[in-house]
Symmetry: C2
Subunit: 93 residues, 2 copies
C-alpha cells in the first residue's frame, strides 16, 4: 500500500502541473480569440486543427502515449477553446 501511496503522490504532482499548463494554454487561446474577433476571423480553423492533431499524435507515439487518446484530448480542449472564442465574438470585445 506504500507503493500505491507513492504512485498517487506522483500522479497528484503531475495533475498540478497539468492544471497550471492548461491555465497558461487558455491565457494564450483567449488572446488568440481576441485577435480573431478583432480581425473578424472565424473561431475555428480546420487546417490549423489538422496540423495540431497530426503533430500531437506523432509526439504521443514518441512519448509512448496512445495517439488516439492524444487526439481525443486535443479535441476535448479545442471544444472548450472554440466555445470561448464564440463567447468573445458574441460579446463584441
Amino acid at each position: 500500500m506504500e507503493e500505491l501511496a507513492e504512485l498517487r503522490r506522483s500522479i497528484d504532482n503531475i495533475d498540478a502541473a497539468l492544471i497550471h499548463l492548461l491555465a497558461e494554454r487558455f491565457k494564450n487561446t483567449k488572446n488568440v480569440g481576441k485577435l480573431k474577433a478583432r480581425a473578424g476571423m472565424p473561431p475555428s480553423d480546420p487546417a490549423r486543427e489538422k496540423r495540431q492533431i497530426d503533430r500531437l499524435r506523432a509526439l504521443a507515439v514518441e512519448a509512448d502515449l496512445d495517439p488516439a487518446f492524444a487526439e481525443k484530448f486535443l479535441e476535448f480542449i479545442l471544444a472548450e477553446v472554440i466555445q470561448h472564442h464564440k463567447n468573445l465574438a458574441a460579446n463584441g470585445s
Copy 2:
C-alpha cells in the same frame, strides 16, 4: 498576424509539455492498475476521486482556470484510466 503566429507557437510548446506529462501520468496509473489487479482492488475509488476533484478545483482557482473545466478535465482523464484498469483486471496480469 505575427502576433497570432507567436501565440500559436506558445500553444504548441504547451501542448508538447501536456502530451509528455499525460504520458508520464498514464505510466503511473498503469502501475496503480497492476497493483490494484494484484490486490483484487476495484478499478475505481470514489473517495480518492472526490479528493482529486476538490484539490484540482482549488488549484484551478489559484491558476485562474475555470474550476468546472478542471473537474471536466479530470473526469475525462479518469474515464480513460478506469478503462485501462478494467482491461488489466480482465487480462489477469
